[in-house]
Symmetry: C2
Subunit: 235 residues, 2 copies
DNA sequence: ATACGGCAGATTGTCAACAATCGACTGATG
DNA sequence: CATCAGTCGATTGTTGACAATCTGCCGTAT
């Protein structure tokens, strides 16, 4: 099996499971879902007992989330879920404009049928979620739509950076959702976005991305400005 | 002290030291210095004994380097120092162009005297290292010169991405240095770079950055192409 | 009333032992 | 001779106990 004798089709590798990975996923989901509020303190002993594991694996999972920018830790003192500041949001959206245009530059010449199909499929999924008024699913679907562009480049560093952005955005949107109720992504904006991504006017797409992000950024900043300033700041 | 009573000047906070941080720094330095070859396996028990600590802190330090992209681990099997592939280098240099232009966009309007002084100081340091033909120091000095631009933006995510790039570049250059001997950064290129960063023609600077990176990328790719392909690939 | 010193609780950092898994080797077997 | 089950050494994953450090509180002295 290791030598791929059973034809060219590589069977999906069974993921080697470690507690660390599972805990990191579960903890990340809990934070992004809003089950754990921004600013809340995470105590290792309590969490370890909750997950039913020792502190060792849990510590490593928390380290991973710290590296992802979802938690912030002070030695011998405590670990907290980060909150997003206005400055954070501003830099995230300005970086999204730059990185997403960069991503399209990398793949512009080779938007093969596979890419077009993948983009359309994710757009359809997003549309379905929006029509169903499933806000939580819409958020995930929108991030998957944008993330598909980054993944299509194959640039590992870019993908990693996007994942970091994605986590922070999801953290904000979860809070936004809890505070304001239904306020998911709108579909007209993404209809234009996808149409332009598949057309051949690169300058128009650049402008659309810039506008797209400007709208999102303004909405985000407005929400954060109306919030109490007690959130723990990220690294 | 916590309330800042002693005037506005915030005294530099004494860094809280943990083994994890020291080990991560030491291990990173050893890898980037070339004391540990790319592709080499790192065994936890051996390293722990070498550092004089238990496996716990060492594991967390290694996790950190894995997140930084310097190591790659397979559960229950082993951890290795990554090698850079030609594709990795290509994407790193193309991202450097985009990110460094983005960084200058962010600070262009507010290149205060402090920024100019900082840039000149790092350029002087680099020049001194080059004149002294201290190759290892030149590499570090060059990365600090470029890194200063990213830090000046204050964008945490951007800085973090740069640190990841910096680590990979330093990893390559260390190997390059060992293989080819003296081949440090040249000073004329950086003279132009700094001069343009302080002047007011942004388009000219963009072109200079593009050329700068193109030269570096070609040199890097040429070296990697002449190498055996047995290096462990990064994540 | 305020500043200082020390105590106590809570939390994280560290350690050494144990368990699970992997990769290679060996030897039997068709 | 190829193939496969079993075993063994090596390496990482996991655990529970112990130590170091921080924060808040209380009492005391000025």
């Amino acid at each position: 099996m290791t030598k791929g004798r059973a034809g060219e089709a590589v069977l999906a590798r069974v993921p080697k499971s470690t507690f660390r990975a599972h805990i990191a996923d579960g903890l990340r989901a809990a934070i992004l879902n809003g089950d754990i509020e921004p600013g809340a303190q995470l105590v290792e002993t309590a969490l370890a007992e909750q997950f039913g594991v020792s502190r060792g694996p849990l510590r490593e999972a928390m380290r991973q989330l710290i590296d992802e920018g979802l938690l912030v830790a002070v030695p011998y003192t405590g670990t907290h879920v980060v909150g997003l500041s206005v400055d954070d949001v501003r830099e995230i959206y300005s970086m999204r404009v730059t990185l997403e245009i960069f991503a399209f530059e990398q793949i512009w010449a080779r938007r093969e049928p596979a890419f077009r199909q993948g983009l359309v499929a994710r757009h359809d999924a997003l549309t379905a979620c929006i029509d169903a008024e499933d806000d939580a699913a819409s958020i995930v679907a929108e991030l998957q739509l944008h993330g598909f562009v980054y993944e299509a480049t194959g640039h590992k560093l870019l993908i990693r950076t996007w994942e970091s952005i994605r986590g922070r955005l999801q953290l904000y949107w979860a809070a936004h959702h809890r505070a304001h109720g239904i306020r998911g992504p709108r579909r007209d904006g993404h209809d234009r976005y996808v149409a332009m991504a598949l057309a051949d006017d690169f300058d128009a797409l650049k402008a659309e991305i810039t506008d797209h992000m400007a709208r999102g950024g303004q909405q985000t900043e407005a929400f954060l400005r109306n919030r109490e300033a007690g959130a723990v700041q990220g690294p």
